[in-house]
Symmetry: C2
Subunit: 178 residues, 2 copies
DNA sequence: CGAGTGACGTTACCAAGTCACATCACCTCG
DNA sequence: CGAGGTGATGTGACTTGGTAACGTCACTCG
């Protein structure tokens, strides 16, 4: 993953071949594909852990918690795992993704899967539709928005703080819809 | 597009080559790629029209309309263009997409672009963030949910009716979040 | 010590996607 | 009417993502 990110920022995403990535990592093209489903996935591999983490945290939320409170607890658990080096990775990742549609696709799917995992976990808490998925989507949105703010070096808040704050703002904005 | 959908349902998505699709359409592989960015796109090509339609309709909504009212008007304009043969296409499309991650990716991106187009159009009406994007995402969600219901042959309502009703239900469910 | 297991390399292959160049129909304008 | 321009298509060669079959090597465990 490090080799890939380096090469992508050095010479661009589509001009670096998988062969080059594997070479720099001291491996073979075949081995690369044993670890990553495809070339894009090398930039998103971590996300599968996140879905599990979110789902578990929602399941472990206190019994009487409302949907949004459970989501908030899950986001707390997730954001707590984000150390500062992850922030730098995110910062370097963003322009690469922004410049390539195929990467935005993968990002969009991962985001949808994140929301899906939270939705399922909420269903297991007997939260009905469409409440469950709305809460999940709002939570995911808060997380991504907060991550964007976190990437700004002028921002010295915790990702957890930013996420909570953003979730509150989104919830408050719902009443202004109509 | 017809040739592709036929072949995909006959023999599966990943076992049909672009060469076969082009052959059945009486064309060449090269010409195929001149019309569609890649193999997936042949199933989603129509959607670019939809984004334009939605954006225009939001721009044309009556001046004092609230964000959600503008979104509702746009969805009315969009759903009005869906004739019954489009419903059949959708029905045949769904299982193909459901079975292949790469197609779900493309679908997720198109959906995000749809919401993005509506968000931009709302910004031009001086709707601030995050109200604009929340309204847009809610509208897109209503449309997709309604389309799913529309695909059920036991359902004899109009897509427009279904979409309006779904949007109302989603809006009502927002209060139960917390 | 011998069999199993897992991670990796080698090679060959297929199909997606690109590119340069040729062809052909059609349109326009002198 | 004829010459040149334009746009859509075909042809063939090429790169690269991605897969599959097979072999090797280290390590582990009974």
């Amino acid at each position: 993953m490090r080799a890939a990110l380096e090469l992508f920022t050095e010479q661009g995403y589509d001009t670096t071949t998988v062969h080059e990535i594997a070479d720099r990592a001291g491996l073979t093209k075949t081995t690369f594909f044993r670890h990553f489903r495809d070339k894009r996935e090398v930039l998103f591999a971590g996300q599968n852990t996140h879905t599990r983490l979110l789902a578990d945290a929602i399941g472990a939320a206190p019994g009487p918690a409302t949907p949004l409170k459970a989501v908030r607890a899950a986001l707390d658990a997730l954001t707590a795992t984000f150390t500062d080096d992850r922030r730098e990775i995110g910062v370097r990742l963003r322009p690469v993704i922004a410049g390539h549609t195929e990467l935005q696709e993968r990002a969009a799917l991962k985001r949808a899967r994140l929301a899906g995992a939270m939705t399922d976990a909420l269903h297991k808490r007997d939260v009905p539709e469409p409440t469950a998925s709305l809460a999940a989507e709002l939570g995911v949105r808060a997380f991504y928005d907060a991550f964007d703010q976190w990437a700004d070096p002028a921002n010295d808040r915790t990702l957890t703080e930013l996420t909570r704050r953003t979730l509150d703002e989104l919830r408050a904005a719902l009443v202004a819809l109509d």
